[in-house]
Amino acid sequence: MDTPYQNHIDKDEFNYVYEPAEDSFLLIDALEKEIDFLRKKNPLLCLEVGSGSGVVITAFAMAFPHCLCFCTDINHRACLMSQSTASHNKVFLECVNMNLVTCFVDKKFDVLIFNPPYVETESNDCLSNGIVASWAGGIKGREITDKLLDMVPKILTDDGIFYLLLIKENIPEEVKEIMLQKGFQANLVLERKVKNEHQIVIKFYR
């Protein structure tokens, strides 16, 4: 998968929007590893939640020109940046400023992608919608992720696939257990140790 062109972005904007980092690229590499599997699936609609700068979903859109891509972010500036990253790379992307997937009708998306705010922090009942929202994950770094997990069965089509990035502190085994209760199998796609973070990408499917 090609890395999208990003030089159009004014560096100062990264004071407000999550700058692509190792986790973003691990997720892109994981999707690249899945390319043959996904090509066979021939997905029609794909959604990235929390697209930030838009690198991940744009890379996906470049690799899957026959799939229409959508993204949401709670941060308005991230939405603008995702949109401009997609248009600079000449791919179709529809972006909505939204909390997770709360305003989409059920069972439309064949692929769902999420690189959540995963850092352990104090509980964050009151959501920020600025740069803090890009990393602050609350208890176990899982508060935002867990909210999305509850919505996954409804947002995906019956044979939809969900790719999720986590770190060890998020207790991936617990996440797998939660998803198993919802009828989803899990596979580890890729993992990497960066500095003192152990990042993994898991794929969930029914």
Partner: protein, 148 residues
Amino acid sequence: MKLITHNMLTSKCLKGVVTGYPLAISATNIKVTEVDFNPDFIVRIIPKIDWEVFWKAADSIGHSDGLPQTVESKLHDNNDFLKKVHRVLLEVEIDEGHLTCPESGRQFPITKGIPNMLLTEAENKFAMLLKSANDLYHEVFAPMPRQI
């Protein structure tokens, strides 16, 4: 916002709103941006969209010309039809305007093509308050033995 997105958006995130679908469109600026035409994709997407909602949305922004009110499968071989769907579904874009919840009348602005579906702080607080009240009821009051 393209009409394909409108076809999938609801305001059910608002407390008290049941379906919140379809949202009404008010457009103050509409753009048309070119998107590669892929007839196979259009054929596959048609069964996934709510055609009636799509047609009415197109009509409400003045783009329903030549678009049939109901869709029949024999049209799938008709290239002119597929091109028309392609244009209205993927190329016509609401750049500025707002969406209105059909049940509550709450408006959601669209700026630079991006709909803002976020709740206000007050709406979020109200939702949390309702949730706490509900949790309290289920944890404390509901399990209590009924007094006659």
